[in-house]
């Protein structure tokens, strides 16, 4: 359940960048290969924000899908799960997108 610590890191990052601001919305990007479960972050968010400048803020999460490139055949493909294999059978893969875990923006009252 590292999502609890991840959500705490979100609060710390936002209050660190915007000290004293009343935050009404937090927008996160949680990539399909980030290793973080968006639903678990949603579950933790209200608990963790209580008593902070983010209390009552809305949470919006975008979950971009992953895109990979095979180093053997060169084709780009969307993996269908966390075990990434190219349709050609190769496991020698570069992940192009989908690993990001970031705070894209916030809304301030």
């Amino acid at each position: 359940m590292h999502e609890l610590a991840i959500t705490e890191d979100v609060i710390d990052a936002v209050t660190g960048r915007l000290p004293g601001a009343r935050i009404t919305c937090v927008r996160l990007e949680i990539g399909a290969l980030s290793g973080v479960v968006a639903d678990s972050v949603r579950f933790c968010f209200d608990l963790v924000t209580e008593g902070t400048d983010l209390q009552g803020a809305r949470l919006e999460i975008s979950e971009p899908s992953a895109l990979c490139k095979c180093r053997v055949c060169g084709s780009e493909f969307a993996p269908d799960g966390p075990v990434i294999l190219c349709p050609c059978g190769s496991a020698d893969i570069a992940v192009l997108t989908g690993q990001d875990l970031k705070i894209t923006s916030v809304m301030v009252a």
């Binding site: 991840i6 979100v10 990052a13 660190g16 290793g35 970031k102 301030v108 009252a109």
Partner: protein, 288 residues
């Protein structure tokens, strides 16, 4: 949690060796940070945000003037930026000292502590080994390593399911590893959460024991994908368990084509020399 930098004050850190039985914890009275960790004027988050209008040197954003209604502030900041920055600072500190740090991960009971006990005993007098021991509770594992002859810092994470860079930075400060030595960071037994947190290590080692079954690499791909070395442990039990070494190796190749794999038993000693050689090859020469 530290109100200044967000490092995890909930963890209890206890130095078990170095002769004095000193105890430190992450409470306010003894709360210190890793070498080079400064709060004054440091920037959090991205490194390239120092010149944006509306931001001061500390990276804070100051909103100016009355604003009608809510307004959007773009951050584009990695959630783990602070952890990653602390980890990088530890890594640079370890390199400047000539210390090899290894992040050792596995599920509970795969044999991390037993491996380190034997390693400490057999490398005594040859390679200096110290250990940062992470568990939710108790100093049981730390005491075992200490009895085997290595300096140990025990970190109890309490509710935490993994070690983070702040805990390890404080553990390193307490441990004060000598140049030309090895620090093994024994993570909390867990094949999920520790995969996300850079601790400042030079290499990640994952143990997969034959008693657990051969399918661990594909069940926990995020963990195995990052491994530099996978140790297949408890091979003395192979005659008694249903573990297909070929399918395990094939699954590992699918998840992590670049990972090195070794088989060993910390009970019988079989295969341990390969692990020692791997450590020795990566350990820096002592600095003057």
């Amino acid at each position: 949690m530290c109100g200044t930098c967000g490092c995890s004050g909930g963890a209890a850190i206890q130095l078990l060796a170095a002769g004095h039985g000193r105890r430190s914890s992450a409470d306010a009275a003894v709360h210190r940070h890793d070498p080079g960790h400064e709060h004054d004027g440091e920037r959090d988050g991205e490194r390239d945000h120092g010149h944006d209008p509306g931001r001061d040197d500390a990276g804070h954003i100051h909103l100016q003037g009355p604003v009608p209604g809510d307004r959007t502030v773009i951050l584009q900041q990695k959630v783990l930026a602070k952890n990653d920055e602390l980890a990088q600072r530890s890594r640079e500190w370890l390199r400047s000292r000539g210390v090899l740090a290894v992040n050792l991960m596995s599920s509970p009971g795969a044999g991390k502590t037993t491996l380190l006990e034997r390693t400490a005993r057999e490398l005594a007098g040859k390679l200096r080994l110290s250990v940062i021991e992470g568990d939710q509770e108790t100093a049981l594992d730390g005491r075992r390593i200490q009895a085997a002859g290595a300096a140990v810092v025990q970190i109890n994470t309490g509710a935490g399911c993994h070690l983070d860079a702040a805990m390890v930075a404080e553990g390193l400060r307490a441990l004060d590893p000598p140049t030309g030595s090895i620090v093994v960071i024994e993570n909390v037994g867990n094949l999920v959460c520790p995969a996300l947190f850079d601790l400042g290590e030079e290499a990640k080692v994952v143990i997969s024991s034959v008693a657990e079954g051969a399918d661990k690499p594909v069940k926990y791909p995020n963990m195995f994908r990052q491994a530099d070395l996978v140790l297949v442990s408890k091979i003395d039990l192979l005659p008694y368990v249903d573990f297909d070494t070929k399918s395990h190796a094939a699954d590992l190749r699918r998840v992590s084509p670049g990972a090195l794999m070794m088989q060993l038993s910390a009970t019988t000693g079989q295969g341990m020399q390969g692990w020692y050689d791997w450590l020795r090859r990566r350990t820096p020469a002592p600095h003057e």
